[in-house]
């Protein structure tokens, strides 16, 4: 018997190992348990979570937006500072000699 044929045959035979509960009420009990869980009114923690989740998400979005804005403003300001030093010559006097730094 080839490897493939062995596995095919084994697969046919193994299908009978599917679960069959001795407890016949399982198939009525399980849907009832699930129904009870999903139709139960939300408790306080779930209600709070439902409210806080979108609020937290909004704050996160705002914080991310603020961080991006601040970093953009800081970058713009530092570029302006370099530019203003370049456009205004700096003069330093040492022992009567004046040294001028320009662009």
């Amino acid at each position: 018997m080839t490897e493939d044929r062995f596995f095919e045959k084994l697969r046919e035979d193994a299908a009978r190992l599917r679960y069959e509960p001795k407890d016949a009420f399982l198939w009525t009990r399980l849907p009832a348990r699930i129904r009870e869980k999903i139709q139960r009114p939300a408790d306080v923690s779930q209600m709070l979570a439902r409210w806080f989740r979108p609020i937290a998400a909004s704050f996160l979005l705002l914080a991310a937006g603020a961080a991006v804005t601040v970093s953009w403003v800081e970058r713009a300001q530092s570029a302006y500072a370099v530019e203003s030093i370049a456009s205004h010559p700096v003069e330093i006097s040492v022992d009567g000699d004046t040294f001028s730094f320009t662009e």
């Binding site: 679960y19 699930i34 129904r35």
Partner: protein
Amino acid sequence: MPAGRLMFAVQSEVDRTPTEADPNEQRAISAVKSGDAGSYDYLVSKYMKRVVSIAWGIVRNADDAEDLAQEAFVKAYQTIERFKGGEPFGPWIYRIVTNLALDVLKHRNRFRHEELTDSHPAARGDRADLAAVSNELASRIDAAIQALPEMQRVVARLFLVEHFEHAEIAAMTQLSEGTVRSHLSLARAKLRERLADLYEGSND
């Protein structure tokens, strides 16, 4: 074949029908998304046998399997907004229950030492729930699969017993298809060795 088993087999085939072929399933999903919790009953009834069977195959304990099935259906319900319309519900619920069952295995492995020193370690897995174990052949196959290393056992069971294909198993276990094939290949070699006396004499 007893009538009960035949009905179960037919039900399993129904379970594997794609959603496109079952407009009721699509309607139920849409209704649940719109807040009609009662429509979820249809999905539960359609998939529960297979979901319990998958869970039981991994955790081998009837109570745990029932709890896992419940947890999987509740989780699927709570996150149904994320479920893409038009897709079959089956693979999604199978993936959820497989992950939950694998988590139980991980948890058990973590506490294996305590389990091994337990005075009734055999109580963990209840073979008695498996009606087919009374059959010699089924019993031998079951024992051989159970003797495999953990992931080989999980993958082999999903392939051999539940008849999922490689890609389906990969999606359910979050392994790559190559890894699934590799586990199956190793499992096949071991199973062939262990079941040699049952299959080697057969010419078909």
